[in-house]
C-alpha cells in the first residue's frame, strides 16, 4: 500500500526545507572532476581478457562459413566465438514487435553492415584486433534494402524469410470522429515531412566485463548499464539462466540518453568468458562501433500529417501517418519510440479527434534504439509545423493560434484523444510569459526590418508536452508487456544519525544521488553530507528499474519518502513508549521526535531513536522489528492496460515548455544562425532547480544537433557514410546558443512533492522550434523546409530552387 507521501515541500517534517527545492551542488561532482570515478574501462580484474568483435562489412549476406583456425593460433588469443556458440548457449533476442530478433552474433546470414559475426578474447585489445584480421568469413551477398518505401513492396527482398513481408507492425488508430472532423472542417492542410536518423552518442561508449562461473553456473557483468536490473533480466532470458544467477553491476557511466545500447556486447562477452573457462572478458565499444553497430541510431521517419481547422482557428482534427524505418531487427526497444507519441499525441492542444496510421518496416540498416525523448521529438516537429501552416493560411499569429487551441488551465486533469491524462498546467500563462520575456512585438518589428534588407530572419514559437514517468503500458500496443515500473530504495540510519540510502541505479549524470540525499537530509534534518548514497547490483538492490522515460526523480522521490516514512513510523512508536504517550501524540519535526504541542518537553534525536532500535531492543515496543531501516518500492498509481482502441493512461505527468527562437538563414550558404533563444517551462516542483536547468541546457544542445547537424547517412548499398565524429556532427560550444529561461511551477497533483518528469526536457521542443523559425525565415521565398536536419546543403538547395523563375 502507498503510505501517505508528502504532496508538497511544506509537508516535509521540517520547518523550512534546507535542501529540497534548492540548487544544491551535486554530491557526485568532486569525484568526477578529479577523475576518480570508476567508469567501466577503469576496471580491471585478475586474468581479464580483452574482446574485439568482427562486424559484417555486408548489409545483407548469407554466411556460408567462418574459418577461425588462423586466428586461434595467434599467440595471446584465448577464445573465439561465432554464431554457432551463440546458438548453442543463448537464445534469439527479445524484440518488440515480437518475432523480429536474432542471436547476438549472426548465424545463417547478416542483416546490417556492422552486425557481429565473430568475437575474440585475447590478452590485450591489440592482439584481439590482430586476430580479427585472421578470421575468414565466406559471405554470399544478398539484395539490399535501405529504402523504407521499397521495403514495403511485395517483391522486396525480405530481411526475415519467416515473415511474408518486411512490415513489422501496422495499425491505424482512430480516436473520436476524425473522418467527420475532416469532412466538416472549414480548412484542411496536409504536408509531408522527413526526419533522418539521429541518436544519443554519449561521450562514453558502452563497455562491459562479463564473467561466467562454470562451477556455480552464474553470470556476473560489470558494465555501463543504464538499467542494471533490467539488463540482468534480459541476460537471464538470453542465456537460459535463473534470474537469481545473473548479477549486473552498473558502473558509473558517461551518459546514456536511452542510447547506451550494449545487449549484444554483454551477450558476446558472456559467451567468450564461458568458452575461455570462466576468465573475465572486457569489451569496450569503440566510437566507430558505437556509430555503426551500437545503440546510437533512432527515429528514421517519413510523415504525412493533416490538420482540420475551422475559420475561427479551432483545430478539430489531427491525422499523422508514419512510416518508421526500424532497421534490421526489433531488438533494443527502438519501436517503443513509435508508440510513445501517443502519450502526447495532440501536444498542448485540445484537439478532440485524431488518427495515427503507424507502419514500422524493416530494412538493412542498424536496428534503431531509443534516444532521449523516446519518439515524440519528430512527432512534435510535425505537429508544430502543421500548426504554423494553418496559422499562416488563416492569417493568425502563430502564438495566438496556439493559444486559441491550448487546453484551458481549468480543465486538468485532461484526457487527450489518444487516452493519456495530463496532470496539470497553465499553457496560456507560459506563452504569455514567453512573449513578454522575448519582447515579441519588437522581434517582429526587427524581422520586418531584416526582411526589407534582404535577410532571411525567422521566429519560431512552439509549445510541447514532455510526458513524464513512463509506464510499460504506453508501449503495450507494439507488444511490450506489463503495467507499472516499480522503483525501490532502502534507507537505513545508524546510531549516530548517519544515513545510508541504497539504490539500484548507477551514476549517470542527472544528479539523482544528490536528489536522494537532499530528500533525506530534509526529512531527518541532517546535513546533506550525512547521507551516503550506495548503488547496489541487481542481486542486492530492491526491485527497481532506474532512469528512463523522464521518470527517475519522481519515482526516486516516492521511494525515498516512502522508506523514510516507514522509519519515522517506527521512531514515533519508540518515542511514544519512552515518553509514555500515544503514538499519535508524537511528531517528527526538524530531526526531533517530540510530543505534539509541548514546547521544551522531552525529545529524541534521530540518532538516539535509531540507536535504541539497534542497541536497546529492550526499550522497543512489543513485537517491533529492530533496526532503523526500511525498503519502499514506488510505482505510478492508477495505471491499466490500453483499451481496444489503444487509448491508455500511461505517463503520469505532463511537463510542458514554450520556446521562442530567432534565426537568420544565410541566403548565400543556407547556414542557420541562432540569434536568440527563450524558454519558459513548467515541470512542477523543482527538487533541484540547477539539475533541471542543466538538463534543459543539455537537451537544447541535442535539439540543435538534431535540427541542424546530426544525421546518420546510409548509401544505397546499405553502407554507413557517417561512421566518425568528423561525419556525424555533434554540436560544439560554437553551435549551442545561450538561452534565457523562466520557470512556472504547477505542481503535479499525482506525484510526491508535486514534481514532474523533466529529464528528457527540451529535446521535445527545440527541433520543432528551430524548424518553425527556419520556415518563418523562408516565408518570403514561398518555400518550406520539411526535412530534418536542415543542413546548409538542404537549405541551400531549397533556396536555389526558390530563386528559379
Amino acid at each position: 500500500m502507498t503510505p501517505d507521501l508528502p504532496k508538497s515541500l511544506s509537508d516535509l517534517p521540517v520547518t523550512a526545507p534546507k535542501w529540497v527545492g534548492k540548487p544544491v551542488n551535486r554530491i557526485e561532482d568532486p569525484m568526477l572532476v578529479t577523475g576518480r570515478v570508476e567508469f567501466i574501462d577503469n576496471l580491471t580484474m585478475p586474468g581479464m581478457l580483452h574482446c574485439a568483435i568482427l562486424h559484417s562489412p555486408y548489409p545483407h549476406a548469407k554466411i556460408n562459413g567462418i574459418d577461425v583456425t588462423a586466428a586461434e593460433s595467434l599467440p595471446g588469443v584465448v577464445a573465439i566465438v561465432t554464431g554457432e556458440d551463440a546458438e548453442r548457449w543463448s537464445r534469439v533476442g527479445y524484440t518488440s514487435p515480437e518475432g523480429w530478433g536474432t542471436h547476438c552474433m549472426a548465424t545463417d546470414k547478416v542483416r546490417f553492415a556492422g552486425e557481429p559475426v565473430a568475437a575474440v578474447a585475447a590478452v590485450s585489445r591489440y592482439v584481439a584486433e590482430d586476430a580479427l584480421e585472421l578470421i575468414d568469413v565466406d559471405y554470399e551477398p544478398l539484395p539490399v534494402i535501405v529504402d523504407a518505401h521499397a521495403a514495403l513492396e511485395p517483391d522486396s527482398p525480405r530481411i526475415f524469410e519467416e515473415h511474408d513481408s518486411n512490415v513489422m507492425y501496422q495499425r491505424d488508430f482512430k480516436w473520436g470522429d476524425v473522418d467527420g472532423a475532416f469532412a466538416a472542417a472549414d480548412h484542411t492542410y496536409t504536408e509531408r515531412f522527413r526526419w533522418h536518423r539521429v541518436g544519443a552518442n554519449p561521450i562514453e561508449t558502452f563497455g562491459v566485463i562479463s564473467q561466467w562461473n562454470p562451477i556455480s553456473e552464474t553470470l556476473t557483468c560489470h558494465g555501463s548499464f543504464q538499467t542494471p536490473a533490467f539488463m540482468a533480466l534480459g541476460r537471464a532470458a538470453m542465456h537460459r539462466l535463473p534470474t537469481n544467477k545473473v548479477r549486473a553491476i552498473g558502473q558509473p557511466h558517461g551518459g546514456s540518453f536511452g542510447g547506451k545500447g550494449g545487449g549484444r556486447g554483454i551477450d558476446i562477452t558472456a559467451l567468450l568468458s564461458r568458452k575461455a573457462g570462466g576468465q573475465p572478458v572486457k569489451w569496450i565499444e569503440d566510437r566507430l562501433e558505437y556509430l555503426s553497430a551500437g545503440g546510437g541510431q533512432a527515429w528514421d521517419r517519413f510523415y504525412e500529417a493533416s490538420l482540420a481547422v475551422n475559420d475561427d482557428g479551432t483545430v478539430t482534427g489531427l491525422r499523422v501517418k508514419l512510416l518508421d524505418d526500424l532497421g534490421a531487427t526489433g531488438e533494443g526497444f527502438g519501436a517503443t519510440g513509435a508508440a510513445k507519441p501517443m502519450a502526447s499525441f495532440t501536444g498542448c492542444y485540445a484537439i478532440p479527434n485524431a488518427e495515427y496510421d503507424l507502419t514500422i518496416v524493416a530494412t538493412n540498416k542498424l536496428p534503431a534504439s531509443p534516444y532521449r525523448g523516446m519518439g515524440p521529438p519528430p512527432h512534435n516537429f510535425v505537429l508544430e509545423q502543421m500548426m504554423d501552416i494553418a496559422a499562416r493560411d488563416l492569417g493568425v499569429d502563430p502564438a495566438e493560434f496556439r493559444c486559441r487551441n491550448f487546453i484551458p488551465s481549468d480543465q486538468f486533469p485532461y484526457t487527450i484523444a489518444s487516452g493519456n491524462e495530463y496532470d496539470s498546467g497553465d499553457y496560456d500563462a507560459a506563452m504569455k510569459k514567453l512573449l513578454e520575456m522575448a519582447d515579441y512585438d519588437a522581434l517582429r518589428a526587427e524581422q520586418e526590418q531584416a526582411r526589407s534588407e534582404g535577410r532571411l530572419r525567422g521566429i519560431g514559437i512552439v509549445s510541447t508536452i514532455e510526458p513524464g514517468v513512463f509506464d510499460w503500458n504506453a508501449y503495450a500496443v507494439i507488444g511490450q508487456k506489463g503495467v507499472g515500473v516499480p522503483e525501490g530504495v532502502s534507507v537505513s540510519i545508524g546510531n549516530t544519525g548517519k544515513i545510508i540510502v541504497r539504490v539500484g541505479f548507477p551514476l549517470e549524470g542527472q544528479g539523482q544521488y544528490t536528489v536522494a540525499a537532499q530528500l533525506l537530509a530534509d526529512y531527518f534534518a541532517v546535513d546533506i553530507g550525512d547521507v551516503e548514497v550506495v548503488a547496489q547490483d541487481s542481486l542486492s538492490a530492491p526491485t527497481n528499474f532506474g532512469p528512463g522515460g523522464s521518470r527517475l526523480a519522481v519515482a526516486l522521490t516516492g521511494a525515498v519518502l516512502g522508506a523514510a516514512g516507514k522509519i519515522r513510523d517506527k521512531f514515533v512508536r519508540v518515542a511514544a513508549k519512552l515518553f509514555e504517550v500515544q503514538p499519535e501524540d508524537i511528531e517528527l519535526m526538524d530531526g526531533k521526535l517530540r510530543v505534539r504541542g509541548v514546547a521544551g518537553g522531552a525529545q529524541l534525536t534521530v540518532g538516539q531513536a535509531a540507536g535504541i532500535l539497534i542497541h536497546r531492543t529492550d526499550l522497543l515496543p512489543d513485537g517491533m522489528e529492530p533496526g532503523a531501516e526500511a525498503t519502499f518500492v514506488w510505482s505510478s498509481p492508477d495505471r491499466v492496460p490500453p483499451d481496444d482502441d489503444g487509448r491508455v493512461k500511461s505517463y503520469l505527468t505532463a511537463a510542458y515548455a514554450c520556446h521562442l527562437v530567432v534565426v537568420d538563414v544565410d541566403p548565400e550558404t543556407g547556414k542557420t544562425e541562432i540569434l536568440k533563444y527563450v524558454i519558459v517551462d513548467d515541470c512542477g516542483t523543482r527538487l533541484n532547480p540547477a539539475n533541471v536547468e542543466g538538463m534543459i541546457d543539455g537537451a537544447v544542445a541535442q535539439g540543435v544537433g538534431a535540427a541542424l547537424l546530426e544525421e546518420y547517412v546510409y548509401d544505397e548499398d546499405g553502407q554507413l557514410l557517417t561512421g566518425t565524429f568528423m561525419d556525424y556532427l555533434l554540436p560544439t560550444i560554437h553551435e549551442v546558443p545561450a538561452t534565457e529561461k523562466a520557470a512556472l511551477v504547477t505542481p503535479s497533483p499525482f506525484t510526491p512533492l508535486g514534481a514532474k518528469g523533466a529529464g528528457e526536457s527540451a529535446i521535445h521542443t527545440t527541433p520543432a522550434a528551430i524548424m518553425c523559425a527556419i520556415n518563418d525565415a523562408l516565408l518570403p521565398l514561398a518555400t518550406r523546409a520539411t526535412e530534418v536536419p536542415a543542413t546548409p546543403n538542404r537549405l541551400w538547395t531549397l533556396l536555389q530552387a526558390a530563386k528559379q523563375p
Binding site: D29, N201, P202, I203
Partner: protein, 169 residues
Amino acid sequence: MTAKRDVSLTVNGVAYSASVEPRMTLVDLLRGELGLTGTHVGCEHGVCGACTILLNGQAVRSCIMLAVQADGAELMTVEGLSEDGQLHPIQQAFVGQRGLQCGFCTPGFLMSVYELLQHNPAPGDDEIKEALGGELCRCTGYQSILRSVRDAAARLRGEVPAAATEGEA
C-alpha cells in the same frame, strides 16, 4: 608485433619508464600501464577531446599520439590538478557552476581550460569558445562550462568567486 621500446616520461611530476609496443597509444600507456585512469577515451580519432592532456604544457589528444612520441616529455593529467585532497580552482569552479553532468568528458575540458588560463588569465567568451571548440560534451549544452571557465579565471586571479549555489566547493 614489433619489438618493444623503452619510454621514459614524467607525469604530474612523477618519473615513469615503460617498455611498450611502438603502436601503443599514449592514452593506453597512461591508463593501462601507469594506472592513471582519470584521462578518458571517447572517440579514438581525435575529435571528442575527452583524452586531452598537457604535453610539455600544450594540450594534446592522447588517443592519437603514440606512447613512444612522448619519450622524454613532461605530461600533466587530471590527476595532477588537485593537491592534498584540495580541488584546484578550476575544479572548484566546475563543481560550483555545474560545468558537468556525467563527468566523462570533464577531464579533457579541465586540461584545455588549464592550458587556456595559463596563457590568458582573463579570456573573453570568444576566446574560451575558441579554446574549447575541440571538446565535445553531450550533457551540459556548454553554457554551464562557459560559466565555469569565467568563474575559474576569476578564482585564479584571486577574485572572490561569484556567488555560487549551496554547498559551494
